[in-house]
């Protein structure tokens, strides 16, 4: 039987995109046929979001072209992509929280299909029933739980009857039943000839729903494969493997016998938990998981930056987590992932940035003792290999790696029991990474316990003594030192759904 060639709903040809020093996409070509669900998988930072951004017209590629339904898109024109029949459900949503469900749906519907303003609520109710969503159209979206908001994001994208639908991580906040419901809707739409691009970290869900899968790794396509011929293992093999080999400092080993330093119990906030954690002296615990599953919030809550319920004990004493100050008093310190905004004073020099929390140490009767401050900072700058002409250099003129080292001087200047590092090597050059790993390990060897949140599994496997995997705000996997490698961590992240029942059991017990 000779079949007619499939209709191409969306095609990207030879797309390249560079952000500063990072090559986000390198000559990627991608095709989504009408009526197929085409999954895109890859690690954090492999270029999935960039791919969607270019397809939807929000990003302008450096090279390459985009066609929607056979029509060439003037890249960078989001409105034009929309007119050509492409809509997108955003990972971060596009809801206007202060408006009602009906008003949000109304704004998302194409102008020609909007009913009169007066009949909006009735119309919205009909649409919600069509998608089997039970919520009052007059409810304010900001008052709805995250799962429902995420679902409504997809409903909104479907309202304009698109020819191409981009779904960016559409299930991060959904429970198993809800995922199934979403998939049935998506499959229905595909059957009517819509081309669907499905970006997700959850390989079981991807294999369940997708016809074909394209794998991205470091901005390069690892080919498009038929989902039926793939297993989670083969997909993982395509996702991992990085040309760059990194060196890591030696582990101290045998952390399991040491004293427990940090005890976290029934810790919860809207984005995570409740979860329990124990951390031993000198242990480096890795926090893995797909972006946006609550790891970031967990770390910040432990530092008192965001609020959470539950109890945290450090060194046997209860920690006052109502403010970062309370956490610091108990010896818990956060190295923020957003260094220039949250950690550093960019216009101040290295010396001021290093000592700003501990000025009391260098002062007498309210007067600073500059000389002692200077010698101490100079010693640390040398030890941490901060490359700078002088310790008075404003830190905004330093590279990302050197800025991070400046942040790292702080735990060396005061008593710290627990160090929380959020993406410690993001935006850091390879040469500086080893220095940072060494500094972290040195601190651990002094008995400091550490939690490192990272989206880089190689980093986690090289640096940490133990790694836990977070999905939907819960701990779904724990990997001990002897099993630690990149592949094992990625398997933990992408196999999230299979382990979900274990979690449900834990929740039931709690």
């Amino acid at each position: 039987m000779t079949s007619t060639p499939p209709v191409i709903a969306l095609s990207l040809q030879g797309v390249c995109k560079r952000f500063g020093a990072v090559q986000a996409l390198q000559d990627v070509s991608f095709e989504c046929r009408a009526g197929e669900i085409h999954a895109v998988v890859g690690e954090n930072g492999s270029g999935k979001s960039t791919l969607l951004g270019i397809a939807s017209g929000f990003l302008v590629p450096d090279e390459g072209s985009v066609e929607i339904g056979g029509v060439r898109l003037h890249t960078g024109h989001a409105a034009e992509a929309h007119q050509l029949g492409l809509t997108m459900a955003y990972q971060t949503y596009s809801h206007i929280l202060d408006l009602s469900v009906a008003e949000n749906l109304y704004l998302a519907a194409p102008v020609a299909e909007r009913p009169t303003f007066r009949s909006m609520d009735g119309w919205a109710e009909g649409k919600l029933r069509e998608y089997d969503v039970h919520v009052a159209p007059t409810a304010r979206i900001g008052g709805l739980p995250l799962g429902l908001r995420q679902f409504l994001e997809v409903v909104k994208a479907l309202l304009s009857s698109p020819k191409v639908l981009l779904l960016d991580e559409p299930t991060t906040a959904l429970g198993p039943g809800e995922v199934e419901h979403l998939h049935s809707i998506v499959l229905d739409r595909a059957a009517t000839g819509v081309g669907i691009v499905y970006v997700s970290h959850r390989l079981p869900e991807v294999l369940e729903v997708a016809g074909r899968v394209t794998v991205l790794r470091d901005g390069q396509s690892q080919g498009t494969h038929r989902a039926a011929e793939m297993s989670e293992e083969t997909l993982v093999s395509l996702m991992i493997g990085r040309p760059m080999e990194l060196a890591f400092p030696d582990r101290a080993g045998a952390a399991t016998e040491r004293d427990v330093l940090l005890r976290v119990s029934q810790f919860s906030a809207p984005r995570f938990g409740p979860l329990d954690l124990t951390l031993r002296k000198g242990e480096i615990l890795g926090l893995a998981g797909a972006e946006g599953n609550g790891q970031h919030e967990l770390l910040r809550s432990l530092a008192g930056v965001e609020r959470a319920a539950g109890s945290v004990e450090c060194n046997g004493a209860k920690v006052d987590l109502r403010s970062p100050f309370g956490a610091l008093r108990s010896g818990i310190m956060l190295l923020s992932g957003d260094r220039t905004r949250e950690s550093l004073f960019p216009v101040l020099g290295i010396r001021s940035n290093a000592t700003i929390q501990v000025l009391r140490r260098f002062s007498k009767l309210g007067w600073l003792w500059r000389g002692r401050e200077r010698t101490e900072v100079e010693r640390l700058v040398e030890r941490l290999k901060v490359r700078t002409p002088s310790i008075e250099q404003p830190v905004r003129f330093l590279s990302g790696g050197n800025q991070q080292k400046v942040c790292l001087t702080r735990p060396f200047l005061r008593d710290v029991h627990v160090l929380l590092a959020d993406e410690p090597t993001q935006g850091v050059d390879v040469a500086s990474r080893f220095d940072i790993y060494k500094a972290l390990r040195a601190k651990a060897d002094q008995g400091v316990a550490m939690i490192v949140k990272s989206s880089d599994p190689i980093e986690l496997s090289g640096l940490c003594d133990r790694v836990i995997v977070i999905s939907r705000g819960r701990i779904i996997d724990e990997i001990q030192a002897e099993d630690l490698n990149e592949r094992r961590i990625i398997e933990g992240i992408v196999h999230s759904r299979r382990r979900a029942p274990v979690q449900a059991e834990q929740a039931a017990r709690a």
């Binding site: 989001a78 206007i96 202060d98 089997d132 919520v135 609020r307 319920a309």
Partner: protein
């Protein structure tokens, strides 16, 4: 728990919010009370002349117009500080273009030119804010300064009479009610119907509430923002006409108080500083309320004896205090929600406690 594949449902927590009519109703009640008090203390208050002054170009009228303009800027989350200086500039330029000796065929294009000034200033403001990405406060503060300087150059000392026919026409009244005041009220009602009962009004509010989300939904956020600042300046230049009718002479110092009072009136009428909320009727009522306070304080017997020597200072003080009070009261539910969220985070919310028990 939702049953698998049987759709998706969720409990919805009712959200407490200040309903849109509350500021207007509160203002109305307060005004009634203050009016009754003033009437009981001073026979002058309810005189035809005083009521006409209160509503007309010497009272609420210019403030109502400029407050409606300010409500537009606040609607998109911005401030327009330049409105007062623009009103002054219109008065000063008007003292040349609307000269006493001119006939109607000269006055008409002159009036259009004055509105044109508003248009140009609005476009400049919007361009500074949207193209150069300057904060609206700073951008309009800069245009304020430029306009103020130009006004002082044109009229270093007050002079140049405004055409009497124009003044009279603007001050025309039915009984004690100025015609223009009725027109402003009608304009405000139409404006609110547009804002809350039409598609484009919803789009404008959506852009004001959350610009990045509404842009993802395809709303023309750029056009809405430009429109807001142009509308603000246009309404301010219109207010300038009534200010001109009030003072009757080219004076470079007349409009400076309107930057604050316009914001105060709009906020009293329910505008949110964060954007997306507010109403034109509210702005007019807010303006009326402030004018009432300014109107009655100098009347004899209104203030208790020990406050009499404060009667010049009290209008300004009370405007500031009322603005702060309005901001706190209207944000009450948000403050309350924030407090409750903080509380729930520390001690657990009712739902999470229930979940933990089950």
């Amino acid at each position: 728990m939702p049953e698998p594949a049987a759709g998706i449902a969720a409990p919805v927590r009712p959200v407490r919010r200040v309903p849109g009519w509350l500021p207007v109703a509160m203002m109305g009640l307060l005004m009634f009370g203050i009016g009754a008090y003033a009437a009981s203390r001073s026979a002058d208050f309810l005189s035809q002349f005083n009521l006409n002054t209160l509503l007309g170009s010497s009272g609420a009228l210019p403030l109502a117009l400029v407050a409606m303009g300010q409500a537009c800027a606040l609607m998109v989350g911005g401030f327009d500080i330049s409105v007062g200086a623009l009103m002054t500039f219109v008065v000063v330029v008007g003292s040349y273009l609307l000269a006493a000796s001119y006939a109607w065929y000269q006055l008409l294009p002159a009036s259009l030119a004055l509105l044109g000034i508003g248009l140009v200033v609005g476009l400049v403001n919007a361009g500074l804010i949207r193209r150069l990405r300057l904060p609206s406060i700073i951008a309009t503060l800069a245009t304020l300064s430029v306009l103020q300087g130009l006004s002082l150059k044109l009229r270093p000392v007050p002079g140049g009479e405004i055409n009497f026919d124009v003044t009279q026409w603007l001050n025309k009244s039915w009984g004690f009610v100025p015609v223009a005041f009725v027109a402003v009220v009608v304009l405000a009602i139409l404006g609110d119907l547009w804002l809350y009962r039409t598609r484009s009004g919803l789009t404008v509010r959506a852009v004001g509430l959350d610009e990045s989300s509404s842009r993802r939904l395809g709303a023309p956020s750029e056009r809405v923002n430009w429109g807001a600042f142009v509308a603000s300046s246009l309404l301010a230049s219109l207010a300038g006409f009534f200010l001109a009718a009030q003072v009757g002479i080219g004076d470079a110092r007349v409009g400076s108080s309107y930057a604050l009072t316009s914001i105060a009136a709009a906020v009293l009428g329910g505008s949110s500083l964060a954007g997306g909320r507010g109403s034109f009727v509210g702005a007019v009522i807010g303006a009326l309320f402030l004018s009432l306070i300014i109107n009655i304080l100098p009347l004899p017997n209104i203030l208790p004896g020990f406050l009499r020597e404060w009667s010049d200072a009290l209008p300004l003080i009370s405007i500031g205090a009322l603005t702060l009070l309005a901001l706190v009261v209207y944000q009450g539910p948000d403050l309350w929600a924030r407090l409750r969220a903080g509380w729930a985070n520390i001690f657990g919310s009712r739902t999470s406690r229930a979940a933990a028990r089950s």
